[in-house]
């Protein structure tokens, strides 16, 4: 029995070792993630909460200055300075910062629905408490405050679209190539662009349908509303899905190994998941991180969806970002078509 187990064990090990692509991904992918994220979120920048400070040289009183100093010495807080209070309030309303302090007037604002805001408020109160009173006065948020779920929800939808597009198209096309379905297709009059168009259209149709179901379900459960038009939202999701699907087709343009394709798809989706502000805002992140985020299609998709749902933005308001998505899709599709091969080898 042991001999048989050993035989199979060693054969499997040999197989795994000789499949260089799988070996590569198994070793380098986790390494890439660890190294990547250690650079992005190294300990000196790893802060759990983001506090906006309205920058002004005048501080109301000496007492406030000392309380603010104590607050700034607290751990796990990142302080981001804003020149303009209205700009900072907008960002607070949109969960890009968790709390806003104006030292000049000794006022602070906190989002009522943000779980993080509640914690930061407690830290502020602890830091500034003298006797039973604190010098900072809580102010009610001006304008419409976006609830946390309203902020998070477009991000989740965008992420879902990303996974569905990349894996749903990329992975399937690679499997078709591997098992010869594509080779059979190549001896029919079907041309590569026709095949790719059909794949994209089918995936966008599936995406929009599933997104609509998830959207309706979430609205029914949480009861929030879309402040923009549904047409704008439809265009954002369709264009975002188009860009992502094109990227999936580019990845799948000539690979014939599912393992290799999975590796590529992971290496694309993971950074997008963390750098496209799906889960947390990159407010205050290093400029290069923001630059990287800016070239990721998911960043634009999520941002556009948030602007429509949370702020009622129109297609015209989003024109530059939508144009960026369209350009990306065009680049991915062109490259995908040029690289496309019906069969392996």
């Amino acid at each position: 029995m042991l001999r048989r187990i050993w035989t199979l064990f060693s054969a499997r090990n040999r197989e795994f070792y000789r499949d260089k692509s799988t070996l590569g991904w198994n070793v380098f992918f986790p390494l890439f993630i660890i190294v990547g994220f250690s650079v992005l979120f190294s300990s000196d920048t790893q802060n759990l909460y983001k506090v906006g400070i309205v920058r002004n040289d005048e501080v109301a009183t000496q007492q406030i200055a000392s309380q603010l100093k104590k607050f700034r010495e607290m751990q796990y807080l990142e302080f981001i300075e804003f020149k303009d209070r209205d700009d900072a309030l907008y960002k607070l309303n949109h969960h890009r910062i968790d709390l806003l302090v104006d030292p000049t007037t000794a006022e602070y604002w906190v989002s009522k629905t943000s779980p993080k805001g509640y914690v930061v408020e407690k830290i502020l109160q602890a830091a500034s408490l003298q006797g039973n009173t604190t010098a900072f006065k809580k102010q009610s948020v001006i304008g419409r405050e976006v609830t946390y779920i309203e902020w998070l929800f477009p991000g989740i939808l965008g992420m879902n679209i990303m996974f569905s597009s990349l894996f749903g198209v990329g992975y399937v096309v690679v499997r078709y190539r591997k098992n010869g379905v594509l080779k059979r297709m190549s001896v029919t009059p079907v041309r590569p662009y026709e095949f790719m168009t059909a794949q994209i259209m089918s995936r966008i149709f599936v995406l929009l349908t599933t997104t609509a179901i998830v959207y309706t379900g979430t609205v029914l459960i949480f009861g929030f509303e879309n402040h923009g038009s549904y047409l704008a939202l439809l265009i954002v999701f369709a264009l975002g899905g188009f860009t992502m699907t094109s990227l999936g087709l580019l990845v799948a343009s000539r690979i014939a190994s599912e393992e290799l394709a999975e590796g590529f798809l992971n290496i694309i989706t993971w950074p997008m998941m963390f750098l496209s502000e799906v889960w947390f805002s990159l407010e205050g992140a290093r400029p290069w991180v923001k630059n990287v985020s800016g070239v990721l299609p998911l960043t634009h998709l999520v941002d556009c969806a948030r602007k429509v749902i949370n702020d009622g933005a129109s297609i015209y308001d989003l024109r530059y970002q939508l144009l960026s998505l369209a350009v990306m899709a065009l680049v991915f599709l062109t490259m995908g078509s040029l690289l496309f091969k019906w069969q392996r080898g």
């Binding site: 098992n179 010869g180 379905v181 080779k183 059979r184 190549s186 001896v187 029919t188 009059p189 079907v190 069969q343």
Partner: protein
């Protein structure tokens, strides 16, 4: 019809970095016949047929379809069954056939396809739940979906049990009787003898003989083949006035005078139980031409 041959291949070569898979082959096929490319695995049959089908680019050579170079419409007109293809998953047999039919401008009649390829009973079945023979029949129907004049069948019966194989032969015969030209690759001699009007025997990328099965047998083989299952001393075999071949599990003797040969074997005390005597077939022909077994 302003062409003599539906397909002409001239000086076709396919060179891979390490092997010359197709080495200067030429042939021409008249309309309405079944032409067989016959040879062992690795002889270059599939590469040849895939070059003609347009899947693989030739290194050199000329291919004419209906007297002209193939154009982009070739795939509209040709019917192609590849050697190993998976079918799209989660579709039924009927949906798959309809999908392929809809890819062409000219469509074969659905009832004709279903009836010719005997798909009546499995039309509603999921592609993943059909047997090997049923899958080959569906692939054959797909190859006929555009009502082609020329049909390529690359080893259509490989891996099938004898009954399923015979079933498929009947279908291929019916298709040919319907006026279509068929190019078939196979490593089964019996299949080539039954189905093909003309055959080209391939080995190591070259065509080593080409004609009708009968003419080839008449030209290259004479006499009788004796198959012995028992082992015989090599020195004795060498002393006999006939050609002999030691195969994996038997010995084949090709002789002009079987009576004399059997007498000699009996005198030598060779066990004749399990011995068979038959006329030469394509298998013997291949052996004679190449010196090795077709299945090798």
């Amino acid at each position: 019809m302003d062409y003599k041959y539906i397909l002409e291949v001239e000086g076709l070569v396919k060179q891979y970095p390490e092997v010359r898979a197709v080495d200067d082959i030429s042939f021409a096929i008249e309309p309405g016949i079944c032409f067989g490319l016959l040879g062992p695995n690795g002889a270059g049959k599939t590469t040849s047929i895939e070059v003609i089908e347009g899947i693989v680019k030739p290194t050199q050579g000329k291919i004419l379809y209906k007297g002209r170079s193939r154009t982009s419409t070739f795939h509209e007109e040709a019917g192609i069954q590849l050697q190993s293809t998976e079918l799209p998953q989660f579709l039924t047999v009927k949906e798959t056939l309809q999908m392929y039919r809809n890819l062409y401008r000219v469509k074969a009649d659905m009832d004709y396809l279903v009836e010719t390829c005997r798909l009546e009973d499995i039309l509603k079945r999921d592609n993943r739940k059909i047997s090997g023979g049923q899958k080959q029949r569906l692939l054959l129907a797909i190859a006929l979906a555009n009502d082609p004049d020329l049909v390529f069948l690359d080893e259509p019966t490989t891996g099938l049990d004898p009954q399923a194989r015979r079933h498929l032969w009947d279908i291929v015969t019916r298709i040919q009787q319907g006026g279509k030209t068929i190019i078939l690759t196979t490593h089964y001699m019996e299949e080539a003898e039954i189905l093909c009007d003309r055959i080209a025997i391939m080995d190591h990328g070259k065509i080593i003989a080409m004609d009708s099965p009968e003419s080839l047998l008449n030209r290259y083989t004479t006499g009788t083949t004796i198959v012995l299952e028992s082992d015989v001393e090599q020195s004795f075999l060498d002393s006999m006035p006939c050609k002999w071949y030691r195969m994996q599990d038997h010995i084949e003797i090709q002789t002009e005078s079987p009576d004399q040969c059997i007498q000699q074997l009996m005198q030598e005390g060779v066990t004749l139980s399990g011995m068979s005597v038959r006329s030469p077939n394509l298998e013997d022909l291949f052996l004679k031409l190449t010196g090795h077994d077709l299945r090798a």
